[in-house]
């Protein structure tokens, strides 16, 4: 018996959960001016989140999936992607979507059940949220293939959850990304849960990062609640991809602080104690601690940020709430580029009926 292959999984963290630096910071993080925008974005994201839940609870929006506690991942990704890169997202990285131009009102409109939400006003090329878990990594392969063919060093970034890594589609996707050495970065938000299913029930793999070994490319684990680690690792992976170095799988360790969605009641399957312990690790306070220690953040700035975030969110909420309903017949407007004659009568029937049912 001989050994014919060896593999290692690295782990990266810069700020521990108290905000202390555990290893030399990457260059961008040396200047706190580069960090405050990340901080602001995370706070805005969290403000949005609370408001969205309130809208749902008061019957003004449908089921909503919160990103509470996972803000560093979306923000880290969004802040370092190039504008002409393509994001292929799951539903918990609003931070990345907002950074890339998706409007808050659009996310609200989406969860209220309105297709117009995905016709992003300021973001024309990213894919919409994918609700069928684990499906979109395979779409991302096609996107990345197209980018490679185009030859402009663009990269596709696909975000997904720990549960999604159990879908065969995900595996077919990473395997193919390896074969074609695609400019494609997979970021897995390992928030320890897929609804009620815990990580240990999802896979016997010690890390999700090691799943990349099956596909023949590099996988790594990072502290997903450390926005510096997220931004740095994604940056490295993007650079590698732009250089023709192929795909990377980044497992970002985090914790789902909220219920799975507003339709879920997590108290059925996890204890209050477990949840409250996790508050020590969430991403926002550790960065605030760090910035305060570096004297780069003041109480005043914090107050202003909170006020401003609330105002920004409220404006979006108002616009959301004032969005007039769609015409029922619009369900045929974009079914095909040109509606086939066979369905004209059905559309006409809906037009005649008007908005009776809205």
């Amino acid at each position: 018996m001989s050994i014919i292959a060896n593999f290692q999984i690295p782990y990266t963290q810069f700020l521990d959960h108290t905000g202390d630096v555990v290893q030399p910071l990457p260059e961008f993080a040396l200047d706190c001016e580069n960090l405050t925008p990340l901080y602001r974005a995370m706070v805005e994201n969290r403000t949005f989140d609370a408001k969205a839940i309130a809208l749902q609870r008061t019957g003004r929006m449908g089921t909503y999936a919160s990103s509470l506690g996972q803000e560093a991942i979306g923000v880290g990704i969004g802040s370092i992607m190039r504008e002409d890169d393509i994001l292929v997202p799951s539903y918990r990285e609003y931070g990345a979507q907002f950074w890339r131009g998706v409007r808050m009102k659009e996310i609200l409109l989406y969860w209220s059940g309105d297709e117009r939400s995905n016709n992003f006003e300021n973001q024309k090329t990213d894919l919409p949220i994918c609700v069928t878990i684990g499906a979109h990594p395979a779409h991302a392969v096609g996107v990345a293939y197209a980018l490679k063919l185009r030859g402009k060093n663009q990269v596709a970034v696909c975000t997904l959850g720990d549960g999604a890594t159990s879908k065969g589609d995900f595996y077919e996707a990473i395997n193919a990304a390896g074969v074609w050495n695609l400019p494609l970065v997979f970021v897995v938000s390992n928030n320890q849960f897929a609804i009620s299913i815990r990580y240990e029930q999802q896979t016997a793999a010690k890390t999700i990062a090691q799943k990349a070994i099956a596909a023949g490319f590099a996988g790594e684990q990072i502290d997903g609640n450390d926005v510096i680690a997220v931004r740095h690792s994604v940056d490295q992976a993007l650079q590698k991809a732009r250089r023709g170095g192929g795909p990377t799988l980044i497992e970002a360790i985090t914790y789902r602080m909220s219920d799975h969605t507003t339709a879920d009641d997590a108290s059925r399957y996890r204890s209050k104690e477990e949840l409250s312990e996790q508050w020590a690790y969430e991403p926002i306070s550790r960065l605030r601690n760090y910035l305060i220690k570096k004297e780069a953040w003041t109480k005043d700035e914090e107050d202003t940020l909170i006020k401003n975030s609330a105002a920004i969110v409220q404006e979006e909420v108002d616009e959301y709430l004032n969005t007039p309903p769609r015409e029922p017949s619009s369900m045929f407007d974009h079914l095909y580029e040109n509606l086939p004659a066979a369905y004209a009568e059905q559309q006409a029937e809906l037009m005649e009926k008007g908005s009776a049912h809205v």
Partner: protein
């Protein structure tokens, strides 16, 4: 005895059968501690243990496919697919393996398995949670497709499905899960599969439907009755195989038929029934066979779903038009 909802009836049937047949295994996403996202499997894991009530990884293909392996080994897996939008990935194994294992081995091996899945719209759920895929399954030789429309029928049909020696796709109308309650004796009594149930007798027209739409159909019939139009209502219940005889007998009597389903019209299961009428009832028909269905559009997200699902009014109009036909 107290009354229970449809989803409680599902739970009651699962509990009954697990207690009486040690081979029954429940598996799916979140069916254990969480009791299923609709609570259909509530309490089962506590009662029957983690070996028999199995939380799976997020792998729908696996859920269907491992049920094939289990049933080949003479277990009776009852798999839950969380929403029918995630059921399409099961079609490959259902068609190529579950439905064929008995024929492929000429009876040496078989797949007595059930795949349960909530289906249909109307509960303001997110994208992909409101599908009505029954027609696709009804095209597959070697399986059964069963759709209950009341708590009592849910209990009895599910027991029948689990006991059936062949694969059964069991589609549960989400909209009815908690809509109304019924007394459901927990006596282990199963309904017959493969037969349509005549829910209401009437001389003027035959209304054929299944699942959630039975609700609107029944309301329509009551309203029509007030106007003196007596509709016979047939709940198809098992759409594969189809008991056409019951429908033909009814149409022979009424001479008129309206078929109602929520799924898109084109190549929906209503077509199969109408086609049989065109072939076998031409001489009894006084009026065209009318299909009242969902549109040939993507099921809209929550805000427009009501405009998609056939309304009571639409059914009534179709009936009146059919009756008015020269």
């Amino acid at each position: 005895m107290s009354e229970i909802t449809l989803v409680e009836a599902i739970n009651q049937a699962l509990t009954y059968e697990m207690a009486h047949d040690p081979g029954v295994i429940v598996l799916g996403e979140d069916v254990g501690a969480n009791g299923g996202v609709f609570r259909a499997t509530l309490g089962l894991q506590e009662k029957f243990g983690e070996d028999r009530v199995l939380d799976t990884p997020l792998s729908e293909v696996l859920i269907g496919a491992m049920s094939i392996g289990m049933s080949v080994m003479k277990l009776r897996p009852v798999a839950e697919i969380q929403f029918s939008g995630f059921l399409y990935s099961n079609l490959d194994h259902i068609i190529n393996h579950a439905s064929r294992m008995r024929n492929r081995t000429q009876g040496r091996l078989s797949c007595p398995m059930v795949i349960r899945s909530p289906s249909g719209g109307g509960i303001h759920a997110p994208e992909h949670h409101s599908e009505s895929p029954e027609a696709m399954f009804a095209h597959i030789p070697g399986i059964r497709v069963v759709i209950p429309s009341s708590p009592l029928r849910a209990y009895r049909l599910l027991l029948a499905a689990i006991r059936d020696p062949d694969p059964v796709i069991f589609l549960e109308p989400t909209r009815l899960y908690r809509l109304f309650k019924q007394e459901v004796p927990d006596n282990g009594k199963a309904e017959l599969l493969d037969v349509c149930l005549t829910i209401r007798e009437g001389r003027d027209i035959t209304l054929v439907s299944w699942g959630a739409m039975m609700n609107e159909v029944q309301i329509a019939a009551e309203t029509l009755s007030e106007e003196g139009i007596e509709a016979e209502i047939i709940d198809v219940a098992t759409i594969k195989p189809l008991d056409m005889e019951t429908i033909l007998n009814s149409v022979a009597k009424t001479g008129r038929c309206v078929i109602v389903h929520e799924a898109p019209r084109s190549a929906g299961f209503g077509a199969e029934i109408a086609a049989n009428l065109a072939e076998h009832a031409l001489l009894s028909l006084f009026a065209p066979v009318c299909r009242v269905t969902g549109y040939d559009a993507v099921m809209p997200l929550a805000r427009l779903e009501k405009s998609y699902i056939p309304s009571v009014e639409k059914i009534i109009n179709a009936v009146k038009k059919t009756i008015a036909f020269a």
